[in-house]
Symmetry: C2
Subunit: 316 residues, 2 copies
């Protein structure tokens, strides 16, 4: 009997859905919109509806479904409890219980950044290792920690919140969260653009970046690849602060591999090589020589990780 | 049938031994010297001898012994393999296998700082929680990470090496390890004395510390309790840098409780309160409100943790 698992990654605007075979093949992926009205109360029913419709579409019988893994954009406790999730409007919900009731399938929820890390470990940039850290550099900076093949969620689900590590206590500009000098202010797409504008205002250094009407992280990395001195300096600084943050992560959980994802990671090897260089320069010997890889699953990391949540549960 | 477990904490100069009942009562503790000659090759046999002698002494039969937990002063892989342990002279040893052969008992080895953390979680400052971080402030700074009740050892056993986190990349004086600006240079007993001497040389600030022929961490904390301005400043700085390091640890594994141990922790609540104050000032909301407690097991944390290694193994 062929068996299946659903991976459901709930975002603030769309819910990414994946139907996987037991051996990890993605049979189909699709999206439905996130209905955030009325504290997101429609979301669980919408997910149940799309799952049950997909079962009918493929003629999948109840006993062929191993379960539903769910990624939630906020902290989730070990038993699936969400106390407050502003991204969806949810309050005081046990997601596992609700989804089991609505679908009749085993349901396991976890934080979306953590499931993305699990997905990358399973089928992506971290494939083959059991101790891995994913750091995602997008509009913000997020992360997920995998130790011995399992998510390290932390006491209330805030483990892996790498974006708000204080990297520069002297910083005078505030982070989006209100703090000062957080990793996200330097190593996100918005962070490197902020740094570029600041540097251009402060110095007279010539740069192709000065001609741009709008400036993106991609512009900066592209210019660095062309050896633009200012852009090179900026990429080096991003690499340096990220490396220092990751060296702290290494001192705590010592992964074998760091996987870098998110939009900024499209910069490719210039990013991983710069981070690696700074990481090995600053860190104690016992923690040197770790690998820095790029994420490979992109926006699908979450649905893969959600599927893996169920497969891990079954294996126990 | 009463059952027992041995907790053996191997140090560079002495081996601390504990005989525990199954429910965690320490029946007797004793020490034997560490024979470091000839790459420490006598150590396993010495341990086996003292364990078997203790069994005879109490009339404990083989089937009453659940196992032997061992703390090793260096990295240990998950299956008990030690590739290199300069503190003992060991190279390429599988400690679990050797001890099982010599004693006939189930043996489980782990890093000494990690077992101390496990011990504090079980019966010490972290009692009652499953997500805990121990940081020990002694001559150096060490640490151990517990997530969901288990040690996070890392890929090669270097997890929890908190002392060498780079807290000040601008530092010009080297750490004992050769790096620069490591936590240990500010938050250890030697670190705060170093800072005190530096500050006294750089400023003219009056302080009772200036009169001392030799200066210890205890002198500085005692003076701070008496409101000596320079000492207060130094304790505040130690608290600030330690809090920043622990805020990074929290972003990775989010413990419920930080337990502070080692000689410096004898300073008591002035230390925990200072660290707590700085921690909550700088950190994102989701990670605020953690507890800061003092370690309570002192030098016995290791033998407790070693015993727990075995009890956890048995429960599986």
């Amino acid at each position: 009997m062929e068996r299946f698992v659903f991976g459901i990654d709930i975002g603030g605007t769309a819910i990414k859905c994946g139907l996987f075979t037991e051996d990890g093949r993605l049979k189909e992926k699709w999206e439905i919109p996130t209905e955030r009205a009325a504290e997101g109360e429609r979301v669980p029913q919408d997910i149940a509806d799309t799952i049950l419709a997909k079962c009918r579409e493929y003629g999948i019988r109840r006993e062929q479904v191993l379960g539903v893994g769910l990624g939630v954009p906020g902290p989730v406790s070990g038993n699936g409890f969400v106390s407050h999730c502003p991204n969806l409007g949810w309050r005081e919900k046990n997601v596992n219980e609700i989804m089991e009731r609505l679908t009749g399938f085993v349901s396991v929820a976890a934080n979306d950044a953590n499931v993305a890390a699990l997905g990358e470990m399973w089928m992506g940039g971290g494939a083959g290792v059991k101790n891995m850290v994913l750091v995602t550099l997008g509009t913000g900076v997020g992360g997920g920690i995998i130790a011995e093949g399992k998510i390290v969620a932390g006491a209330t689900g805030a483990g892996g919140e790498l974006g708000h590590m204080v990297m520069n206590p002297q910083e005078s500009e505030p982070c989006g969260c209100g703090g000062f000098g957080h990793l996200e202010q330097y190593a996100s797409a918005t962070g490197i653009v902020r740094m570029a504008k600041k540097r251009m205002a402060e110095t007279k250094k010539s740069s192709v970046l000065r001609g741009k009407e709008t400036l993106s992280a991609k512009d900066i990395f592209d210019a660095a690849k062309e050896k633009d001195p200012l852009a090179t300096e900026l990429v080096d600084e991003l690499g340096s602060v990220l490396a220092r943050a990751l060296s702290h992560v290494a001192a705590v959980v010592e992964p074998e591999v760091f996987v870098i994802g998110g939009g900024v990671s499209r910069a490719g090897s210039v990013l991983t090589e710069t981070v690696k260089h700074h990481y090995n320069k600053g860190i104690m010997k016992a923690l040197q020589g770790k690998e820095f890889r790029l994420a490979t699953l992109g926006n699908d990391a979450g649905i893969y990780g959600c599927a893996k949540l169920i497969l891990d549960r079954i294996e126990k």
